[in-house]
């Protein structure tokens, strides 16, 4: 998968911009705050429909303008070329187009194009709040499962409605049943359970890959463990021993069948394979009962078949139902929902120690990198071709070993976009085959001086300054050559001619 051409209109600090990219590594260099990351953000917007950094999406629009457009020509191995457009309007409205056709919903863009972003903001996946980790999960799963976005949208709505109802009932007590609390419970359970299920499924696979990649990044010195911390105690999976594909298949089927049954689960089908699970369920049930002692309210109406769930989703639903019932009194007292995916978290352990709390910044950064590379592999596996990699200013943050590892990892594997303040950290042969762009205050110039490497920018290649004189010495050498036959006046004339080159250099230097 690759981006052939990108057009920005009134996006961030770009009025109009049109860029064509190389198939391999594309490097954007320039001082800070010139608009390098904005290019990566535009590409990421096409993959996720979300801004990387803006809290309000109208921040993406150039000042005093009404709307911003991002359009890209995408080349896909499996699905062919496509032109994708995201338009952002004042008031945070968005529309998306695929090959010029406007799509009904913004989420319909998901799955058209995939990109993995890695930058310093990703450190919050490890060091931030649980909300940051949930946000990360939501964005990543949405790239491979449009269904997840659909369920998440419904869940958020149900949660807001249920919270409002619980608050109402706390402030003005009425019989909860009359106000329909039982129905909101069922809706919460239905959508919440699919989120639990998808998150567990995704994290199961992600953690395997991340742990493996992390071992490579640390030369096997550190062992990473990624652990999903769901807000409820999830039942043990009956499909534990099956392959990933089977799990996915059965999950999908169960989703469909549960929906079709509309929560009227059938007691008839008791699967002998679920005996182990029913024990787990019995345990959960007793826990829930202990928690709800003294509570008169009967179990919700669909409780008539709690005995033997026959598949993953149903067993999650019944576990969620019991545990939700268990906290019923406390929820009524506090007037808010206490269980559900909105309270999930993820833990990262390095050699058994919680990296969220005790990891060094280097370790935390390596965990974030391992997660991102694992995510890349998951998408690649799911889509059948590698996504685009976006690396924002990571060259300076990583140590030598990890930087080399990362560059060799992306090289020839996928189209990669890298922002940096200078070209110092790149090996010579990589620069030779990369497409290089210089970004200065919203202007992007394609750096065509490749092979031989750019010599004018002193900062770009300090190790290579051998080859070329750059500083005033450059002029003097010219001067000296000219000086063979020369008048002082001529030498003096040379100076103003070379001056622009010198001042040009100055702007390239990192700020």
């Amino acid at each position: 998968m690759r981006v052939c051409e990108l057009k920005l209109s009134h996006f961030r600090n770009y009025r109009e911009l049109r860029l064509q990219f190389g198939e391999g590594i594309n490097i954007f260099y320039g001082r800070n705050a010139q608009g390098k990351t904005n290019i990566l953000e535009a590409i990421s917007l096409l993959a996720t429909t979300r801004s990387l950094r803006a809290s309000r999406e109208s921040e993406l629009i150039l000042q005093d303008e009404e709307m911003a457009h991002v359009t890209a020509e995408i080349d896909r191995e499996r699905e062919g070329d496509a032109e994708l457009t995201v338009s952002v309007f004042q008031g945070d409205k968005k529309t998306v187009r695929v090959n010029g056709m406007k799509r009904e919903r913004v989420v319909d863009l998901l799955g058209q194009f995939n990109a993995v972003f890695f930058g310093s903001i990703d450190l919050v996946i490890v060091t931030g709040e649980p909300a940051d980790r949930r946000h990360y999960l939501n964005i990543e799963i949405s790239q491979i499962s449009p269904r997840y976005v659909y369920d998440l949208g419904h869940y958020k709505r149900v949660l807001a409605q249920r919270n409002r109802l619980l608050r109402e009932l706390r402030d003005r007590p009425r019989p909860p049943q009359e106000m329909g609390l039982d129905v909101w419970n069922e809706q919460l359970i239905k959508y919440g359970s699919t989120l639990f299920d998808k998150r567990r499924f995704y994290l199961d696979r992600l953690s395997l890959l991340a742990e493996e990649i992390h071992a490579e990044l640390t030369d096997g010195r550190e062992r990473l463990e990624v652990k999903y911390l769901p807000s409820i105690t999830l039942p043990v999976k009956p499909t534990e021993t099956k392959t990933a594909e089977t799990v996915e298949l059965s999950t999908n089927l169960s989703t469909v069948s549960t929906m079709a049954n509309n929560n009227t689960s059938s007691v008839a089908e008791v699967n002998p394979n679920t005996v182990r699970e029913s024990r787990e369920d019995a345990y959960l049930h007793s826990v829930a009962q202990e928690a709800s002692q003294g509570e008169k309210e009967p179990a919700p109406q669909t409780q008539n078949s709690p005995a033997m769930p026959v598949n993953t989703l149903e067993s999650i639903e019944s576990a969620f139902r019991r545990q939700l019932h268990g906290v019923g009194t406390e929820e009524a007292r506090r007037g808010t929902t206490l269980l559900g995916p909105q309270r999930d978290d993820i833990a990262f352990f390095i050699n058994g120690t919680d990296a969220r709390l005790y990891g060094s910044q280097g370790q935390q950064r390596t965990v974030a990198l391992a997660l991102k590379l694992a995510e890349f592999r998951l998408i690649e596996e799911h889509v059948g071709e590698p996504p685009v990699m976006l690396l924002d200013d990571v060259m300076s943050d990583l140590d030598d070993h990890r930087r080399k590892h990362l560059l060799s990892w992306v090289r020839r594997r996928c189209q990669t976009f890298i922002t940096c303040t200078n070209l110092r950290s790149f090996p010579k042969d990589l620069l030779a085959e990369a497409s290089i762009f210089q970004v200065t205050a919203g202007t992007v110039t394609s750096d065509v001086r490749k092979r031989p490497l750019p010599t004018r920018n002193s900062e770009s290649l300090p190790e290579q300054s051998v080859g070329q004189p750059v500083e005033p010495s450059g002029e003097s050498s010219v001067g000296e050559l000219a000086g063979e036959a020369p008048a002082i006046a001529e030498r003096h004339d040379l100076a103003p001619v070379s001056l622009p080159a010198v001042s040009g250099k100055a702007t390239d230097k990192p700020g």
Binding site: R105, V107, R147, Y150, Q161, M179, Q187, A260, Q301
Partner: protein, 198 residues
């Protein structure tokens, strides 16, 4: 700075309160009314007043009517064993336009939505039960496939089923005559969910 004369400003402000009408449209409408012949403007004003005075809810189905019972409830050719539940009168009109459904209706006058302070007690749900007990064989829930519509459907289904009546829900999925590849993902997901055996 110049302002509209008071009566005109007042009209603009009133029109602006209507749903879907912004300041520009309100101005345009106000000027249109101003230029209308006197009797046309009067007709509009009277129509507004008359609708407020004469329209009430049907005593049976809670549809809007200008009589004790609405036209549909008075129609003896309709099948009283089939009852279609809709949220609004405009949904009833949409169903009627199909010319396919020959049963009776019940209009809830809204959907359950705690965020809008609408609980079940504010909807015409209490009025539904005596009707269902009185000879209805099937209740068809025709509510929007939104979170609130789904929740209201679940609420009604769980309360109606114990009465021994058949409760069904209209299908949700692809539009008739639509192209599969132009359908949005939510619609396709729904169509897949509600698929039926052939």
């Amino acid at each position: 700075m110049f302002h509209y004369a008071k009566p005109l400003a007042h009209l603009v402000a009133e029109l602006e309160r209507l749903p879907g009408i912004g300041p520009k449209s309100a101005q345009r409408m106000a000027f249109h009314i101003l230029r209308q012949p006197q009797d046309e403007a009067k007709q509009l004003a009277e129509a507004i007043l008359t609708v407020k005075e004469s329209i009430r809810l049907c005593s049976v189905c809670s549809n809007f009517t200008d009589q004790e019972k609405c036209e549909i409830c008075r129609d003896t050719k309709r099948d009283p064993a089939l009852l279609c539940v809709v949220a609004e009168t405009r949904d009833l009109i949409a169903m009627e336009k199909t010319n396919e459904f020959k049963g009776m209706y019940h209009v809830l006058q809204g959907l359950i939505s705690p965020m809008d302070n609408i609980g079940p007690e504010l909807l015409k749900i209490r009025e539904l039960f005596p009707r269902v007990v009185d000879g209805v064989k099937e209740v068809i829930l025709a509510l929007n496939p939104t979170t609130e519509g789904q929740t209201t459907s679940l609420f009604l289904a769980s309360r109606l089923k114990p009465l021994g009546v058949k409760v069904s829900q209209i299908a949700s999925g692809l539009p008739a005559g639509g192209d599969l590849d132009y359908a949005d993902q939510a619609t396709l997901i729904s169509a897949l969910q509600w698929r039926r055996e052939m």
